[in-house]
């Protein structure tokens, strides 16, 4: 227990959790404001929130992946792959619990937000495994920024797959894409525990 707390403190997990909760509160207000705009279609008004909050959650939680004493940790006789897998899984569960009450169930609401959060967190974990935890935010940010404008309706086949962030709640292909990204992210992040990462 004590070791777990020390692990969490060394990665600023509590600060990240507090920031995530503040972002969720702001996003809930933004969602209500958007849906009250008469100029916006009620079904799609919350789409920006389902994307922006998911990205913010992934980025903030990816910030906890960095260890200030990675070299030291590697010398200890512990299975860091298990710790890393546990960390990533806990981050995913925490993110889902935090974003769940932000939006009501709707076409672009609760389910889409949870799916996007899982997918982007998985992407952040994959990036952390490839580029190091300090740069874990780069791919989720670049992907989200590009897809949000390039993935608007009518842009061709395969869109539910490559633009899963923008799909409505009922879109069947988007959910597996997000889950595969999350599973791949957790597995890759855990599997690279022995590598030197900064």
């Amino acid at each position: 227990m004590r070791l777990g707390l020390l692990y969490a403190r060394s990665r600023s997990a509590l600060a990240a959790g507090a920031v995530l909760l503040a972002l969720c509160a702001a996003a809930a207000l933004a969602g209500s404001w958007l849906v009250a705009r008469p100029s916006l279609e009620p079904a799609t008004a919350r789409l920006p929130v389902t994307v922006a909050l998911a990205l913010a959650a992934a980025v903030v939680l990816a910030g906890t992946l960095h260890s200030p004493a990675h070299e030291l940790e590697r010398t200890t006789p512990r299975s860091w792959a298990v710790w890393r897998a546990g960390h990533a899984t806990a981050a995913a569960l925490g993110a889902v619990v935090a974003v769940l009450p932000v939006l009501p169930a709707a076409e672009h609401g609760q389910q889409a937000l949870v799916r996007n959060t899982a997918g982007l967190l998985g992407l952040a974990l994959l990036t952390a495994a490839a580029l190091g935890p300090r740069l874990a935010w780069t791919l989720p940010l670049g992907y989200t920024a590009t897809v949000y404008l390039a993935g608007s309706p009518g842009t061709g086949a395969g869109r539910p797959l490559w633009a899963f962030l923008l799909q409505p709640a009922g879109s069947a292909p988007a959910v597996p894409v997000a889950l595969v990204l999350l599973a791949a992210g957790v597995a890759t992040w855990a599997a690279t525990a022995r590598l030197q990462m900064r």
Binding site: L141, L149, A150
Partner: protein, 410 residues
């Protein structure tokens, strides 16, 4: 100085971000050729629109560069050098700013090469490109300063998110300052901008970039105050006049018409596309005659039509620069059944709405029989006759007559 600049350009964050930035920008412009490939004004406006995406990425890259000295523990070492603080900051900023500009200009030039092949009117609005380039510099400066001041690891991505929200939110505002936002197009409706609002925005953004850079200089931070004053002065013209600054380009909006039934007109900006567009509209509406209230009018684009009401046509261009004829055909077909019910262009009856959709779809594609739905059991000639009669009752919103034509039960 030159050597230090070369080193920064080769070793800084910027060189790693140039390719991803260019790819992101290219994906966006390739996904929306209709918005920019048709004419020069669309090109200039889309350069600014693309900053909604490019801007946050530039801010993030610059913020990461701004935090480099702290991450690498180089602050003390660099301060001990004889180089002035402002020069050090400028050199460090040069890497993300210059490479972001290079990515932006490369994609912008590629877009211009596509647009140039297909537009017959006007010249590239370079002042719009200038204001977009100034915005890239300003965003890089803001990101750099924030990255330098904030020790938090997630400053760069969160700042990018804030930039995205702010640039997006500015487009919802009606105030004059919205035109200073990097991503807001410098136009009002379909009215193109004259040169000076873009120059005002460019001046503001460039001077603001310098002012932000001065804030990074511990010794001469006070110079940022007069610089910000200059930026406000540069912004004053566009902030004060807002959308009143925009006036239509009378020559560009002149209509050029093609003969035929019905007449089709395009603005001078798109006059080169008139033959293909006119042929598409006239083919779709062939055989419908000129007795209907809509077909007596003309089809085309443009803001004003001194000779009567103009049925609007939307001319999206694809990457080949040609009008999207599927869209044009769809627009023309919709006018073949012109509902006019209490100011609405659709009937207050779902079944009639669905029937209208089937009829306009037939007008657009003219498929051979057999048909289904409301067209079931009819020949092509009978459907053509039905469309004519249906158009007549739709134009006076005669719902019982429309139902009777389609043998709907009440």
């Amino acid at each position: 100085m030159k050597r230090a600049l070369q080193v920064e350009l080769r070793r800084g964050v910027g060189i790693c971000t140039a390719l991803p930035l260019a790819v992101a920008l290219a994906l966006i412009v390739l996904a929306h050729p209709r918005d920019w490939a048709g004419d020069w004004y669309g090109w200039g406006c889309y350069l600014r629109t693309s900053l909604i995406v490019l801007g946050p990425l530039v801010v993030a890259a610059a913020a990461w560069q701004g935090g480099r000295e702290r991450r690498r523990d180089l602050t003390e070492l660099l301060r001990s050098a004889s180089r002035p603080a402002l020069q050090r900051a400028g050199l460090s900023l040069a890497s993300p700013a210059a490479w972001a500009l290079a990515a932006f200009l490369t994609v912008g030039l590629a877009m211009a090469a596509v647009t140039a092949q297909h537009t017959s009117y006007g010249r590239p609005p370079l002042v719009l490109a200038l204001s977009a380039a100034a915005a890239v510099l300003m965003l890089a400066s803001v990101g750099f300063l924030a990255g330098r001041l904030s020790p938090w690891r997630v400053t760069a991505p969160l700042l990018a998110l804030v930039t995205y929200v702010v640039t997006g939110a500015a487009s919802y505002s009606g105030a004059g300052w919205r035109y200073l936002s990097p991503g807001v197009e410098l136009f009002s409706g379909d009215v193109p901008a004259p040169w000076w609002p873009a120059l005002s925005a460019a001046g503001f953004l460039a001077v603001a970039a310098g002012a932000v850079l001065l804030l990074a200089d511990d010794e001469r931070r006070w110079l940022a105050v007069p610089a910000l004053g200059l930026a406000v002065l540069a912004a004053a013209p566009i902030v004060r006049t807002g959308q009143h600054a925009f006036s239509p380009d009378a020559v560009a909006e002149q209509l050029v018409c093609a003969d035929g039934e019905p007449p089709v007109c395009l603005t001078r900006r798109h006059a080169d596309q008139l033959p293909e567009v006119a042929a598409a509209v006239q083919t779709v509406l062939a055989g419908l005659g000129t007795s209907g209230p809509v077909l007596e009018q003309r089809f085309g684009e443009g803001l004003r039509d001194p000779r009567g009401v103009l049925n609007p046509l939307y001319l999206g261009a694809d990457l080949s620069g040609h009008a999207d004829l599927d869209v044009v055909r769809g627009d023309a077909a919709q006018r073949a059944v012109p509902w006019s019910c209490a100011g609405e262009s659709y009937p207050p009856d779902d079944r009639l709405g669905a029937a209208t959709y089937e009829l306009t779809g037939w007008v657009r594609d003219r498929p051979p029989p057999p048909y289904d739905g409301v067209l079931a059991g009819r020949t092509a000639a009978q459907v053509l006759d039905l469309v004519k009669q249906f158009a007549a009752v739709a134009s006076r919103c005669d719902l019982p007559a429309a139902r009777a034509l389609l043998a709907f039960r009440p």
